[in-house]
């Protein structure tokens, strides 16, 4: 780069030579890394889907035949055989649930993204309808504020509410479970406005040291005999929210209930 510089001694010229090859190299590297990351992400999603799908078939055989063995021969061999068979049946059943959950988790990533302006209240109502059995059985009291229109995939938002409310009912204290869903607007500028949703319960609560862990895949805080499930529910919630460009967090104290918060982009339409 050359720039003229007038001075009493005449016109001087300053010359600046900047070597941008390092920057170009870095840009190229960044592009390559991003492409690589995308490819490996897609591969991983594909892998999880194929693995869980193709594992179902042989596992169905193991599970069906150990179950048949148990149905037909329980009490006819000896007590050790009964015990062995029951461990085999239990293991196969648990593996089936894990695989189904893995499949459900990978579906959040591989399915078509169907994002549009939707009513979060309708999504919430649908989630409640899907949970009717658990709600009636527990006598849970559900309340909610008016819920806004958001920019989201409706099926995934239903699943998100369903997992959070389902957990609130599942991990309840003795007595009536109370669950309240509310929302608050965040951010002034219209095109970046978000809604922060809160799902508050009066359930068991969670120790703060587990706040991060519970959103991991197959993470559980309870023994199998206490609560069933593989520990995929909140991992799916996290994946859904992150796919929408938001984040999810929890605030809780042991014995004092929990509040799960997540953010979604506000609807682009009039609000």
């Amino acid at each position: 780069m050359l720039s003229p510089l007038e001075s009493p001694e005449g016109v001087l010229v300053t010359a600046a030579v900047r070597d941008i090859s390092a920057r170009k190299k870095a840009e190229l590297l960044l592009l390559r890394t991003m492409a690589e990351l995308n490819r490996s992400n897609e591969e991983l999603a594909q892998f999880a889907y194929v693995a869980s799908h193709d594992l179902q078939e042989p596992l169905r055989m193991v599970a069906s035949y150990t179950q048949l063995l148990s149905d037909r021969y329980k009490g006819k061999l000896d007590s050790a055989a009964d015990e062995f068979i029951s461990f085999a049946v239990d293991g196969a059943n648990r593996m089936q649930r894990s695989i189904q959950d893995l499949l459900a988790y990978s579906r959040v990533g591989t399915g078509e993204k169907n994002v549009g302006d939707i009513s979060s209240e309708e999504a919430f109502e649908q989630a409640i309808a899907n949970l009717r059995g658990a709600i009636e059985e527990s006598g849970a009291l559900l309340t909610h504020d008016p819920l806004p229109a958001v920019l989201a995939d409706e099926g995934q938002l239903v699943q998100l509410f369903q997992n959070l409310v389902g957990n609130a009912i599942k991990y309840r204290n003795p007595g009536v479970p109370q669950i309240h869903v509310s929302s608050a607007k965040d951010g002034g500028k219209n095109d970046e406005a978000r809604w922060i949703f809160s799902v508050r319960d009066n359930g068991l609560g969670i120790e703060s040291k587990y706040f991060k862990k519970i959103f991991g895949m197959f993470q559980r805080l309870h023994k199998r005999e206490e609560y069933s499930g593989t520990g995929i529910g909140l991992a799916i919630c996290k994946k859904i929210v992150e796919r929408h460009g938001g984040s999810i967090s929890v605030e809780s104290q042991l014995g004092q209930g929990s509040t799960f918060r997540f953010a979604l982009a506000a609807s682009k339409g009039k609000s």
Partner: protein, 153 residues
């Protein structure tokens, strides 16, 4: 015209399935009912078509009253078998049921387009599988009136 399945006349069922584990499970449930059933098994599409076109060795293969068809088969897949059955005037009246692990929308749509009589996805749990096979055989072999066994050609 014989009355199908009544007075101890056995029903002929053709199961087209390549997994011996599934064949046995289906046989266990299907043949544990009161009704007398002859279960014939073809382990791929080519073998199934040979059976249906009565080319099975020297013995005349009986015409099935009901066909249970898996989709994922070696040599000739279930959709191709379905297309051949439903494209053949002498075979197309045999109720043909898809029984598969696939729950893919494309598989379901294609099966019905080829005139499958119904589409069933094999459940993962044994109890549910037994229940499905039992209710299906109850419906197709007891409730419905099947086409007469010998078609006028």
């Amino acid at each position: 015209m014989k009355t199908i399945g009544k007075e101890g006349i056995p029903l002929e069922v053709l199961l087209i399935e390549d997994n011996p584990g599934d064949v046995r499970l289906t046989r266990e449930t299907l043949c544990s009912g009161k009704r007398s059933i002859h279960l014939h098994v073809a382990t791929d599409g080519v073998e199934a078509m040979e059976f249906l076109r009565q080319k099975e060795g020297k013995v005349r293969a009986p015409r099935p009253d009901l066909i249970l068809l898996d989709l994922n088969l070696p040599r000739m897949d279930g959709h191709e078998v379905m297309a051949q059955i439903k494209g053949d005037d002498s075979l197309k009246t045999i109720p043909t049921i898809i029984l598969t692990t696939s729950d893919a929308k494309a598989d379901i749509a294609k099966s019905y387009q080829l005139h499958a009589n119904c589409y069933l996805t094999k459940p993962v749990q044994l109890d549910a599988f037994n229940c499905l096979v039992k209710s299906t055989s109850d419906f197709w072999l007891s409730t419905v009136t099947l086409p007469p066994p010998s078609q006028p050609q």
